[in-house]
Amino acid sequence: MEDTNLNEMKDLVLAYVKKEYIDDDDVELTYDTPLISSGYVDSFSMVSLLVFLEHKFKIKIPPSKATPEAFDNVNNIVKLVNQYLNT
């Protein structure tokens, strides 16, 4: 059950990243695809991802935790979200 929730969260984040940042339909993204270090998401655009996560999951992520490393792939993002869901 827990795995299902986790995968649902990952799919939600992945869908948002595709809609928000990827113009090319041919680009295939997985939970592990580097987003920022590979140039799909520039660091300036991270703010909208942060706002999406905070609204969607009703959490508050401190700016100091919203680093390019923490946002570099969907697995990391969901891990970060979970830290604040559980507090």
């Binding site: 113009d23 520039d42 300036f44 655009s45 703010v47 909208s48």
Partner: protein, 415 residues
């Protein structure tokens, strides 16, 4: 000595990496004044070669105009070589203010402040007018100097998909709670040559109580029916809050730039913009040359009209020959080759044919979008363009790409 061998080794290995990646930049030495025909030494040490320049920002052909050169000479004689000061200590001559007033009138704004370059204007303006309570929302393809300027500013930042007005509107709604909002775009995008949709952007900015900044470096002097820029072309003259632009391209091509816009914003820059406060005033010789450029532009639209005609002629010739171009109506005409190596080989072969045009590839442009970026000038005559077209066709035939679709070129050469 603190420059240890390990430091040298570190830099050498980084330089080798750049070379291995194929993105090592080499300068080509030009032995003549900037013009349609130039004499080039390339590679270094080789004999001089006369080539047609198809890649300069000398859009209006004013970089070596005799009247501009004479005005610069006169300025040098009368006002001296340098001012040895920043503007606010003892570096402001009457001609600096005269130029600011001329720019204000030409661009249809409220006031103007000069900077040593447009790079400096973009580096200084955001930090001078925004704080952490505010948001900057920029097009994803804005120029590197804007990105650097935003990095120096404590305001939050977000982006919208290139020229996508629905996405911009979503962002304006998302950030509705911010104290001040500033939308940021290039007027003409330098790599693709396309133009911002300023009419729609002004409408959205008015709807969402947001300021608009346009970097018109690749437009001032020639876009719009009297060359005022993209705001004239899009019928929103007088409605742009901040215009940054350069004198280093169409407007004489030497150096210098400015922030032009709402009076209070210009005043804030005069108080707080660090590149204005901490770097030298623009040399009198340059100010004198740029003043003459504005006289020339205000007296006739002949040069921008010729440029428009030249660009249309060039675009039609390439299209008819079977090249794939980026759509647009500006003098920036990218010839799409998609493959990085092909763009380098093509550029080298053009040079051998006497045509100077540079190939661009990732990371300067997106992966798989390699191209030769051509830039047309009012300094080009029909025979220059015909000669260049002949060379493009010859090289295009060599690589067998004329008349092919994007997919066919990619199939042949890869991304």
């Amino acid at each position: 000595m603190s420059y240890a061998q390990k430091t040298r080794d570190l830099y050498q290995s980084q330089l080798e990496e750049i070379q291995k990646a194929g993105i090592f930049k080499e300068e080509r030495f030009i032995h003549s004044a900037q013009a349609a025909n130039i004499e080039v030494e390339f590679p270094a040490g080789s004999d001089l070669k006369e080539v047609i320049n198809m890649c300069s920002n000398n859009y209006l052909g004013l970089s070596s105009h005799p009247d501009v050169i004479k005005a610069a000479h006169d300025g040098l004689e009368i006002r001296g070589y340098g001012m040895s000061s920043v503007r606010f200590i003892c570096g402001t001559q009457d001609i600096h203010r005269e130029l600011e007033n001329k720019v204000t009138e030409f661009l249809g704004t409220e006031d103007t402040i000069l900077f040593p370059s447009c790079m400096d204007a973009n580096a200084g303006v955001f930090e001078a007018i925004l704080t952490s309570e505010d948001i900057m929302i920029s097009d994803r393809l804005v120029h590197a100097s804007i990105i650097d300027g935003m990095r120096l500013c404590s305001a939050q930042h977000d982006t919208f998909k290139h020229s996508n007005m629905e996405h911009l509107e979503e962002k304006l709604q998302l950030h509705a709670d911010k104290r001040l909002k500033l939308v940021i775009t290039d007027g003409v995008f330098s790599m693709d040559g396309d133009m911002a949709k300023l009419d729609e952007m002004v409408r959205l900015c008015e709807k969402y109580d947001t300021m608009l900044l346009v970097d018109d470096s690749h437009a001032s002097g020639f876009i719009g029916k009297t060359g005022r820029g993209t705001h004239e072309y899009c019928n929103v003259f007088g409605k742009i809050d901040i215009i940054t632009t350069t004198f280093g391209k169409a407007l004489g091509g030497a150096s210098g730039g400015c922030v032009s816009g709402r009076k209070e914003i210009v005043d804030m820059c005069r108080q707080r913009a660090r590149p204005y406060l901490f770097s030298n005033t623009i040399a009198p010789v340059i100010v004198s040359g740029v003043l003459k450029v504005f006289d020339i532009l205000s007296s006739s639209t002949e040069r921008r009209d010729k440029l428009e005609k030249n660009a249309a002629y060039w675009r039609a010739g390439l299209t008819e020959a079977g090249f794939i171009l980026k759509d647009g109506c500006t003098p920036i005409v990218p010839v799409m080759l998609f493959n990085a190596k092909l763009s380098q080989d093509f550029s080298r072969d053009l040079y051998n044919e006497g045509i100077y045009a540079i190939g661009f590839f990732f990371p300067v442009v997106p992966n798989g979008q390699a191209r030769i970026r051509t830039q047309i000038s009012a300094g080009h005559e029909k025979h220059h363009l015909d000669r260049a077209l002949e060379a493009f066709i010859k090289v295009g035939k060599k690589y067998g790409i004329l008349g092919l679709t994007r997919d066919q070129v990619v199939e042949k050469y890869g991304m």
